[in-house]
């Protein structure tokens, strides 16, 4: 029994935490663009971390349950309604057989996570259910969700209805400062070019997707055109010949031959993935020590926010 996709909206993908350890055969990571919202969804539902949920980009998705369970939507500000009645995000709601879920278009941010109690039952491929459409791997047959798809889950009749109080919910904005660990071919960018990169505003272009966000701003030039193709880590900032940076995200190619000036801290890449075309980005340098500390601090804080409970 399952959740039926009535309309997937712009882009809906099954995702778990991502696929790791498979770069050697050319497989990328996939996984949630905004792990903070994804993890909060599973935590609110009382799921183990990393349960398969639906990543909804931009909204406009409709679903129907054929079995009772509990569900939760976290992330971008998309109006949520169950059977036409408005419901809050960042909160667990009961779902009965026949209930419909409607998500409107995002008003703030652009990625949301819809999870159910104990997650969707999807067979992993290479250790993960994460959908990477470019590779035809993960999810249901490697594809994005289509109308008529049935997403299986197990019946759950009892679950505590937690919610995250509004003051603890992230505020998605139309700008973000991305901390960058300088690295890779950094030495091939002159001091002037690095100063330009770290001091100017960039605009999110129309060409932004799960592979990467292409930004527009002053052209950043490098003293080399290309390099021998090499491994690309998450968040790497590639500068092609036109000088317009591309921040490479979850579905990036595993190797590439463009010079890179460094890599965006993952915590900030998640913020970038909530931006839309036209939004503004600044870069700020951070060294590896400080990046390491930021990751540990975020890890220590994750799962600490106090959840409140309401009667269903």
């Amino acid at each position: 029994m399952s959740l039926e996709v009535i309309a997937p909206g712009a882009l809906a993908l099954l995702q778990d935490r991502g696929r790791f350890g498979m770069h050697r055969i050319g497989l990328t990571n996939g996984g949630p663009l905004d792990p903070e919202a994804f993890n909060a969804c599973n935590r609110l539902l009382g799921n183990r971390s990393g349960c398969t949920a639906i990543e909804i980009s931009f909204g406009g998705s409709h679903f129907r349950a054929t079995l009772e369970t509990f569900f939760c939507v976290t992330g971008a500000g998309m109006p949520l309604a169950v059977n036409g009645v408005e419901k809050p995000l960042w909160a667990v709601h009961p779902l009965a057989a026949g209930d419909t879920i409607a998500l409107g278009f995002a008003e703030r941010g652009c990625r949301s996570y819809l999870g159910v109690a104990d997650g969707f039952d999807i067979e992993p491929t290479f250790g993960s259910t994460a959908t990477v459409v470019r590779e035809s791997i993960g999810g249901l047959g490697g594809d994005k969700l289509q109308a008529g798809d049935l997403l299986p889950f197990k019946k759950v009749s009892e679950r505590r209805c937690f919610y995250l109080p509004p003051e603890q919910q992230p505020r998605y904005q139309d700008r973000a400062t991305l901390r960058v660990i300088p690295g890779y071919q950094q030495a091939h960018f002159s001091r002037l070019q690095q100063r330009r990169f770290f001091s100017h505003a960039f605009t999110v272009s129309e060409r932004c997707d799960r592979m990467g966000y292409r930004l527009e701003g002053p052209a950043i030039t490098c003293d080399i055109d290309g390099i021998l193709s090499e491994g690309i880590c998450f968040g790497a900032v590639q500068i092609p010949a036109d000088g317009q940076p591309i921040v490479l995200l979850n579905d990036r190619q595993t190797i590439g031959g463009y010079p890179k000036i460094g890599a965006v801290l993952s915590l900030d890449a998640a913020r970038l993935a909530q931006l839309r075309p036209g939004d503004t980005v600044h870069f700020a340098p951070i060294n590896q020590h400080a990046a390491h500390n930021a990751l540990h601090l975020a890890h220590a804080m994750s799962g600490r926010s106090r959840l409140l409970e309401r009667s269903p």
Binding site: E135, L228, Q253, L295
Partner: protein, 226 residues
């Protein structure tokens, strides 16, 4: 050897600055040593032409510790070691039917189609890198006589198994995809099969030879002409 920061949980190790079978062998040997040295602190490795991206778990270790362990592991590698790598033979049905650019490539090189086939199948290649798409292995070096630039207009659809040349590299397309390489034949061996163990017949550093086969043999080995 040079070690640079890549990201919050990644270092990139450079073992050379160009492509050669010796560097490819060294990349493979270093990759094995790094896996052993980092154990469960390692999340992933991306070996490529002359570099290895090392991705570690930042909650278990940090860049200083990983850098130290990498240097120690590589210091233990005998210099100049040229590991043999596995040897893999891939059958190819070379023909106008399966290699749309075979004739043009021969004409460009000023040699016969038979010579192109004999040169392509008479060279031993190394797997320099895997990427672009799941299972896409970049093999080098192609003999200069049959090296050919990418097509000016890439094809929208290159069939699975297509054997192709771009500059001094050759590859077998693991799946149907767009592509701008020169097609010279087709290989019946699946280069990427998610249901197989292992999913790929080759790994970075392996040696590869192509063996010309007839149309009948190609079909008998499971090759597809569609």
């Amino acid at each position: 050897m040079e070690l640079h920061a890549a990201g919050e949980n990644a270092l990139i190790l450079y073992l050379g600055h160009d492509t050669s079978p010796a560097i490819a062998a060294r990349v493979q040997a270093a990759g094995t040593a790094i896996e052993a040295a980092l154990g469960s602190d390692l999340i992933d490795l991306v070996p490529s032409y002359a570099s290895i991206l090392v991705i570690y778990d930042p909650l278990k270790t940090d860049h200083l510790d990983v850098g130290r362990r990498l240097r120690a592991a590589l210091a233990g590698l005998p210099p100049g070691v040229d590991l043999e790598g596995r040897s893999v033979i891939l059958p190819v049905y070379y023909s106008a039917e399966t290699g749309a650019d075979l004739e043009a490539l021969a004409a460009r090189a000023g040699i016969s189609i038979e010579e192109v086939i004999s040169i392509h199948s008479g060279t031993e290649y190394r797997v320099y890198a895997i990427g672009f798409a799941p299972g896409f292995a970049y093999l080098g070096q192609v003999d200069e006589r049959i090296a050919a630039p990418r097509l000016a207009t890439p094809r929208l659809k290159v069939p699975r198994g297509a054997v192709a040349i771009a500059d001094r590299q050759t590859a077998v397309y693991p799946a149907v995809s767009p592509g701008g390489w020169n097609l010279i034949g087709r290989c019946p061996t699946r280069m990427f099969d998610p249901h197989a163990t292992p999913p790929m017949p080759v790994a970075v550093g392996d040696r590869v030879r192509f063996e010309p086969v007839s149309r009948a043999r190609f079909l008998a080995l499971g090759g597809e002409l569609a």
